[in-house]
Symmetry: C2
Subunit: 354 residues, 2 copies
């Protein structure tokens, strides 16, 4: 069986098309023959389905390349190959969505067809972007991948330095809850260094709406975090010397612009009927409760929220850390990407087993 | 009972000494009377053991300060107060080790005496540094705290923005293992973009010493990570075009100096008989196995190792994230603090319930 690599694709004859495309979903048929992306050819070489590929590049002398030789041409990145191979091993047919060009192969995506389907069908189950653990991924790229339309799920396929695969499912979660409570205005608070002390809080403030933290069981004193206090001052519910601006200034003194971002995310969550409380013990900005009727009947918190600037660039290992922890405590990891004066993009990341 | 605040300490009479120091370990006796650090006085005010403190500062007019009024003087940070109160609630006697000066109160430490002991005894169970979740902590400070001598444990007491406490125990762990294996020299590897492919590896390399990863069950091909390959090339075990330097260069191309730090930590672990494998799925650089005899009889990995520059400044929330995750997977979180040309300081951080 003749297969020739021209530097971009591997071309093979009609018999190859029948054997590899028609029955097993490799490549694309072109004029009755077969065109394979380098990653597809590499997989056929690895499996021994192809013995070798002829190096038909202008400056090559028609050498026969085996698996090792073909990989050494760097026509296909080992990262893309690892993901391709793993998904094939799991029983999927898949196709590179770009040309599979070596120089951009880390940025290409694979269209993964539902089990039992192939490139001749219309449906795509997963759109998977292979990425090395050592490569950074921008928030914008992840949001674009999360936008996979219809029934397609956007997935980051991370290959770690020992060639193990981790699949991360990307979505844009709906942020909605039913936690709405009436709190009487005129709550008086003292701004301390890092929080606000309310010595005579109305019952609804903590017991129903879950603002603040009692200083002691049975103590009348309630401590509000700066972000809670700034939100309540903005609503006109809380009176503090200097108002919301004094609270925000105190927040910015330590956190800078991050405080404004956190306040923005906090406000959006509260506005959506979701109660954010500190996520410190989980290493996140907030954990959230969608349906709070009273503190006594508090359920399980559903989300861990980390607030980040929209220009954030993630290292895959940071995503792995967040997602692993969230999974371990049965919560969904959500990033709130927000600038100082813009809307919030919500992005969730979760482990996936395709 | 008369107690006067002079801006630095609160002085009270002999009756106060009997009642607060002799029987409950507050303050220090001075000439038969009692000197209280602000945080101690605040706690007595909070409990109602003291009704008020006279403001005896030069520019004050002798006002009587209650708990709320005393906190408002900012003589004591609410962070230090939260930690002091929590440890008292847990049944400990404790004493500030610095003067308890308000301007440095976040940097002061508490000597916490063993249960049933007090300041009149010699033993210290924990040396606790109170810190706000929003304050950064340098690696150097954590190492100094980990050096608490003898039977004293160094502890970071983190107060999150909702005034909840998290205690982190700091230690310098011993890094030792028994994983030593003979591997024949002359292993041949091909440097790909991001890893090394060994097509004909000796059995001991993976099956006994746990280097690399089989490409497939039963496949002869072994993939080595760049850091594994660089270490083996340095030993003279692995032959790759360009040797260790070519591998390190490839590593640096993406990670910069971080690759050298990781290689240094990797080498130190292997030299100590400990096998490091990627910690990617746990968001760490390495997970480690102390006693590997063969891959088939691999036990549980004991440590998660993150490699950092010695000048690293931690945000407490990052520590909380790492420690929570490590705890969840029954491993100890260890930081390897290492520069390009220096030794490694090992620092472990774990959750503690005093």
């Amino acid at each position: 069986m003749d297969a020739t690599f021209d530097g971009a694709v591997v071309r093979a004859d009609e018999r190859a098309r029948e054997r590899f495309y028609d029955s097993r979903g490799y490549g694309s048929p072109v004029d009755g023959a077969l065109e394979l992306a380098p990653v597809e050819a590499a997989h056929l070489l690895f499996r021994g389905d192809l013995d070798s590929v002829v190096d038909g590049r202008p400056d090559a002398d028609g050498e026969e390349l085996d698996f090792r030789g073909f990989l050494a041409t760097t026509a296909v990145s080992e990262v893309a190959f690892s993901v391709y191979k793993d998904l094939r091993d799991r029983g999927f047919y898949l196709a590179p969505e770009s040309g599979g060009d070596a120089t951009t192969s880390d940025a290409e995506t694979f269209a993964v067809f539902p089990r039992g389907s192939g490139p001749w069908d219309d449906q795509v189950a997963y759109r998977v972007r292979p990425v090395s653990e050592r490569a950074d991924v921008s928030a914008a790229d992840l949001l674009a991948l999360a936008d996979a339309d219809g029934e397609t799920t956007g997935v980051l396929g991370v290959v770690d330095e020992e060639s193990e695969l981790t699949y991360l499912e990307l979505s844009r979660p709906a942020i909605t809850g039913s936690s709405f409570h009436d709190i009487p205005d005129g709550v008086i608070g003292d701004l301390l260094a890092d929080r606000v002390l309310v010595t005579d809080p109305p019952t609804a403030l903590h017991e129903r709406a879950f603002y603040g933290q009692r200083m002691d069981d049975g103590s009348p004193h309630l401590q509000l975090s700066l972000v809670e206090a700034a939100y309540l001052a903005g609503l006109g519910t809380l009176d503090v010397d200097g108002g919301q601006e004094a609270l925000a200034e105190r927040g910015r003194a330590v956190e800078g612009e991050r405080f404004d971002r956190r306040l923005r995310a906090y406000s959006a969550l509260r506005t959506a009927g979701v109660v954010p409380k500190t996520g410190f013990k989980f290493g996140a900005d907030f954990r959230t409760y969608a349906d709070v009727t009273s503190v006594e009947e508090l359920g399980h918190s559903e989300l861990l929220v980390r607030v980040l600037a929209p220009g954030t660039v993630f290292s895959p290992i940071d995503l792995a850390l967040d997602v692993r922890l969230a999974h371990g405590v049965r919560k969904l990891m959500v990033y709130a990407l927000t600038g100082a004066d813009a809307g919030i993009e919500w992005l969730s990341v979760a482990r996936l087993t395709p």
